[in-house]
Amino acid sequence: MTRIRRRFSRRQFLGTAGVLGAGATLAACTPASPTVAPTQPPAATQAPVATQPPAATEATMPQVSGNLEMMHFIGEGAAYYNFMLTLGDEFKAANPDLNLSWVWGGSDYANQFRARMLANDPPTASAFEENNMRLWAAEGLLVKLDDFLEGSNYDGTGRWLDDFAESVRSRMIMDPGADGPGYYGIPYETFINSIWYNTKLYNELGLQEPSTWAEFLSNCEALKAAGYWPIAHDGNISGYNRRWWFHLIGSLVGGAKYRATLLNEPGTSWTGEPGFLRAAELVHELYEKEYFQPGYQGYQWPAAQIDFATERAGQIMMSSGLYSEIVDAIPEGFSMSTFNTPIVEGGAGDGPNTIWEFKFNAFFVPTGSDNVEAAVEWFKYNTSRAVQQRQASEEGLQRPPSVAGVEMTPLHAGTARMLDTATLAWPREYGGPQLAPDWAKQVLEPLYDPFFYGQTTPEEFINELQAKHDEFYGN
C-alpha cells in the first residue's frame, strides 16, 4: 500500500487560492449556454480553460510514490505517444518518489496484456478502448473504481465523477461487472464517427453542412460536378463499410429495433421492417451515383484518408481521431470540419440528436495491480481539465476530451456541437458485435461487403440476410 503524503506550504496555499479565485471570477463572467441538452456538457460554449500544465494546482495533488508501470495500447510513434510521454514526465516531476515506466502495446497490446494477466504479473495501470474493457470488467480483470470517482478530482475542486461529460458518464458504467455494475475505467478521450468535409471545397462551392440525407446527396452531386470525388472511402475495412448502413438504420429504424432484430426477438425480421431495405437502398445509391472514389472497394486503409487530405475527395466518414492520423499529409491551408451523418427525413428511428457511433478510450487498473493509489492519481492528472484542454487543442493531436467544460478547436466545432446536442449516443453497430459476435461474423459480415461493392442489390442483400439469419437461429 502506498502512503499518500500531503505537502501544502503557505506559498502553495496562496497560489491555489489565487487560481481558484480567478477561476470563480472567470466562471461568473461566462454566459450560460442557451441550448444545453439535459444529458450533455456545454463543451464548446464554455469559457476557455488554461492550456498550460496545471502547475499551481499541483499544490492540491496528493503525492504518490512507488512503481507505476503504465501499459498503453497505443504503439510507439502513434499520435498520442509523445503527448503521453510529456504527461508522464510532468507527473514524475510532481511526484519525485514515483518510478513511472511504460509498456507500449501497439497492435499486440491485447496479447501482451493477456500474457501479463495469466502470469499474475499485471501492469500497475493500463488503457484500452471501452468495448474490450467491458468484456474484461465482466471477467473480473479490472478494479472497480467507484469509490475513487466519489472522491476529489485532481484539482481538488469537486467530485471527480462530476468532471466527466454527461455523454461519457452515461456510458461509463460497465454492466455486467465482476463486482457488480459500476465504473471500471476512466475515459480520457472520446470518438464520434461522423462525416468530415474539406471546408475550403465546401466554401468554394457554396455548400452548407447538410442536416438531412437529401441535402447530403445534393452536396455529393455538387462536389462531383466540380471534379472532386464526393467521398473518400477505404473499402477494404468491412467495419468502415458497414457504418454507412448502420448510421442510416439509426434514423430510419432506430438502434433499439436493430438490436431486437439482431437478437431474433419475437415479431422482428429484416424483411418485415422496410427501413432496413430503405437504408440499404440509400447506401446502394452512393455506389450507383459513383460518389465514392473509383476503386474504393480495393482501398487499403489509410489510402482514402490520403485522398481526402490531398484534396482529391471532399468528404470522408471517419472517427474524431482523423486529424491526428493525417496531420503529416495535409497541405498548407487545408482545413476540415465534421457533421453527424444526416438523418433521413420521415424515418421512424432515432432523432437528429443522436450520435450514431460513439466510444471512449479509458484508463483502468488491472486486478492485482501493486499500486492502485498511484494509478488513480495518474488517471486524475490525465483527466484534469487543464490536461484535457491540452489534449483537445494541442497541434497534431486535437482529440475530443472526456471531461466537460473543455473548449475544442474549430476543427472539432462539429464534434462539440454533436456532444452539446446529443441526447443519445450509440456504440458501434448499436453494440451488435458484443451482443451477438457469432452472428456478426457468420451472418452479416460475409453478406455486407459484396452488397457494398455493388455485387448484390439491396433486395438481394436483405433477403440473404434474412435467410442466413433464420439459418443461424434455426427459425
Binding site: L118, N236, I237, G295, Q297, G298, Y299, Q300, Q442, D449
Partner: protein, 300 residues
Amino acid sequence: MNRWISKRFIALYLAPALLVYLAFFVYPAIDALRISFYEWSGFSLGNAEFVGLENFATVLRDKQLQQAAGNNVFLLIAGGLLTFALALFFAAALSQGRLRGGEYFKATIFAPYTISAVAVALLWSFIYNPQWGLLNTTLRLVGLDALAQPILAFESTAFPAVSFVVVWHSLGFYMILLFAGIQAIPSDYMDAARIDGASEVQSFFHVTLPLLRDVLIIAVLHWIIGAIKHFGIAYAMTRGRPAGITHTISTYLYEWALPYYGSTYRLGYASAIAVSLFLVVVTISIVYLRLAARRESIQY
C-alpha cells in the same frame, strides 16, 4: 562403460535444447489441445468453461473456416506450381553460368526474401491501390483500363493477388535452394548427356531434374507446410478482409484469438482450429513423404 559415459555426455549436451523444445513447443502444443476443449477468452484462468468436443464440431461446420482452408489449398497448389516453375527455371538458367549479370539476377530474385513479411505486405498494398498503385497506373498507361480493377476487393482476384505476393516473397529462397542442388550435381553427368547428344532441355528433364529429386522433396515439403499454415503476408496485407475472403486458416484462427477490429476473444475455439491445423499438416507431411520417398539414395 565407455558407451554408457558417452550416452550420458550426449544426453547432457542435448538437455538444454531439449528443455527449450519441451518448454516452448511441446508444452504449449499440449496445452493448446487442453484449451481446445474449453470456451475461454484466454484472459482469466477462472473463466474457462469445459465444452468437450463442441469447438471441434464448430470447426467442421464453420463455413468461413472452410473458405479460409480453400485459400490455403489455392496457395498450396497454384502458388506452389508458380513458385517451383519459376524457381526451377531461374535456378537452371543461372546455374549455366553463361548468363551475363547472373549474380545480379540471383541477388535481385533473392532480395525480397530478405525483407520482412510485413514490409512486403505494405509495399504490395500500395502497388495494388486501385487509383494510384503501380499496377493499375501501369495498366492504364498501356491502355488496359478494363484490367485496372480494385484487385483486393473481389473474391475472384483478392486471394490470388495475395498469393502472388507470397510467391514473389518466397521465390528467391526456393531458387537458391534448387540452385545449390543443381550446383552439387557433378558436371560428368551433364557432359555425358551432352556427348550422347542430349539438348539443354532434354538434359534438364532427364538428368538435372531426377538428380534434384531429394532437394525438391524437401523444398516441396517446406512449401506445403508453409502454405497450409501461412499467416504473415495474408494477415499483414488484408487481415482476411473484405468479408473474410482472404483469410487463411491461421489468420482466421488468430482473428478469433485476438480480433483486430472487435472485442470477442474465443481462445478455446481458436485452439481447436490450431489443433486441427496441426493434425492436417502432420498427416499431409507424412503422406507426402511416404509417397515421395525413394528406395535408394543418390550418391555422387
